[in-house]
Symmetry: C2
Subunit: 323 residues, 2 copies
Amino acid sequence: MASNSVPTKVGILSLGDMGAGIARLLIAHGFPVSTNGQGRSEDTLERARNAGVELLSSDLELVQQCNVIFSVVPPRDAEATAQRIVDASSGGSRKETLYYVDLNAVAPSTCKSIVALFEKARVPVKFIDACILGGPPSLKRPSQEGEESVWDQPSIPISGPHSLASLPDGEKLASVLQLRSISEEIGAASGLKMCFASITKGFTALVTQSFTTAHRLGVVDELKLELNQMVPAMLTRAEKGVPGMPPKAYRWVREMEEISKTFHEEGGWDRTVFEGIAGVYKAVAEDGVLGQEKIGKRKRGTSLDDVATVMAEGLEMKKKKTE
Amino acid sequence: MASNSVPTKVGILSLGDMGAGIARLLIAHGFPVSTNGQGRSEDTLERARNAGVELLSSDLELVQQCNVIFSVVPPRDAEATAQRIVDASSGGSRKETLYYVDLNAVAPSTCKSIVALFEKARVPVKFIDACILGGPPSLKRPSQEGEESVWDQPSIPISGPHSLASLPDGEKLASVLQLRSISEEIGAASGLKMCFASITKGFTALVTQSFTTAHRLGVVDELKLELNQMVPAMLTRAEKGVPGMPPKAYRWVREMEEISKTFHEEGGWDRTVFEGIAGVYKAVAEDGVLGQEKIGKRKRGTSLDDVATVMAEGLEMKKKKTE
């Protein structure tokens, strides 16, 4: 097909902050984006409408109309989301090959078991292992005076035998998303995400435990003073990273469990560290008021000190209930 | 007593890298330093002689001759070392009060159980809870043209009801060591050390697991590229901190267990994260060749990449043996 043919229609599951950001970026570059709005919350539907995303009423419609589907869901939903597409693609509802791009934060072995779902059902799907490093795409500067718009974009490494290049406008699609192939192996992109997130989100968990404990011991100011003197970059990172975490803590529980799995299966390590870190995020989400935080509507935990204060209170309350 | 009286004689247990550094700093400022050399390795005796430390032949001699004893030992030896001084001080071998400064990386509750050893034995000891943040004191610039020598020194917060100020030259001694009182409570200084070390040494463990796993997945270069792009300070810290760790890994096992205890007892957290991190350092010390590394005689693991390479090999070997 020529490059001036109808652009590839992209399906995105689902329209969270990250999915909506990717949708906006694609739409701004001429790619129509759809999602299945059935049964979704009013918040999600509004986010879709604001981003200019077409709302379809079933996975079947999504699969029939789109040539590429991006899965961008909380890690615990990655397999169920793939199963939905397997089910919708079964029964010959599609003639053409569908590209399925899994962007989720899951272990290489989870990624491989998703591939196996498609293979077992013998549906015509080309699977791409992908991951997102960084925040949602956001418009930095609108197009002006003939110049193109500028976006802040996350890094999106991909791996596996397939790429989007075989689609008529696949190269443009890959270029807009800045996809970067790092390996022929399914699992490499997922694995990279796990290794990266273990450092950034692992660190945030350590700091959360440390400052909560320091708060109870009355030495938070001393801790900050010493960190600032000896490892100032770590304090800067802690003060920047920890306050952003509370609204995402519930999602990070499963992500940390996937890291635990990766470190064990691929690295040969015990599972303990990241099982523990999953527990830290579970405590943030459940033991105290931080679990009620929403992006854009923040109340508590908007500073490192306040995360420590809230968690110290939450864990004290929990202890009293248990005793 | 006047300030021109005989300077306080300081005992240090034991003369590891940190103990020897503190000894050099004190001796350079006119304080005689002794240690009990009995049964110590030739390496330690040589280190003592090089530092100008007097070698005594028993704990009894140490207790009879010194007014202050600093305990600077691997965390697993903190309680046994205190017990040695309790034993040597019992039976009225001392008339004057002895200051016992515990500088070890232990949990506040461990510190309190050490205090209890002295109280139970009713020996005349004033206990100071202290901790060391940073590396051993080292001479940066010798004294010249009438100016005093300049030292790189660690930070030494202390806590509890006592200070060294009541000794005839206690203020000078405290000033040379840059002791800084942070609280009247025993446990505050130890707790501060735990909270600080959890961030720095916890981070080193996360990076060790991450890079080992990335090495096995073949994505180390990609991981470095993405970290460098998104969180460059974390990569810098990783590349600086990880290679210094192998010779200390065996000691850090107990330190991480003490952090686990602190986070549980003082913070209300589960013990899992730092039990897991203790396991990481146990693996570094035991599963591979990194456990044989000595400070000043380094062979392997002198770069982040090589730590990952050695650990990947070590954990693969262990897996094969287990299977």
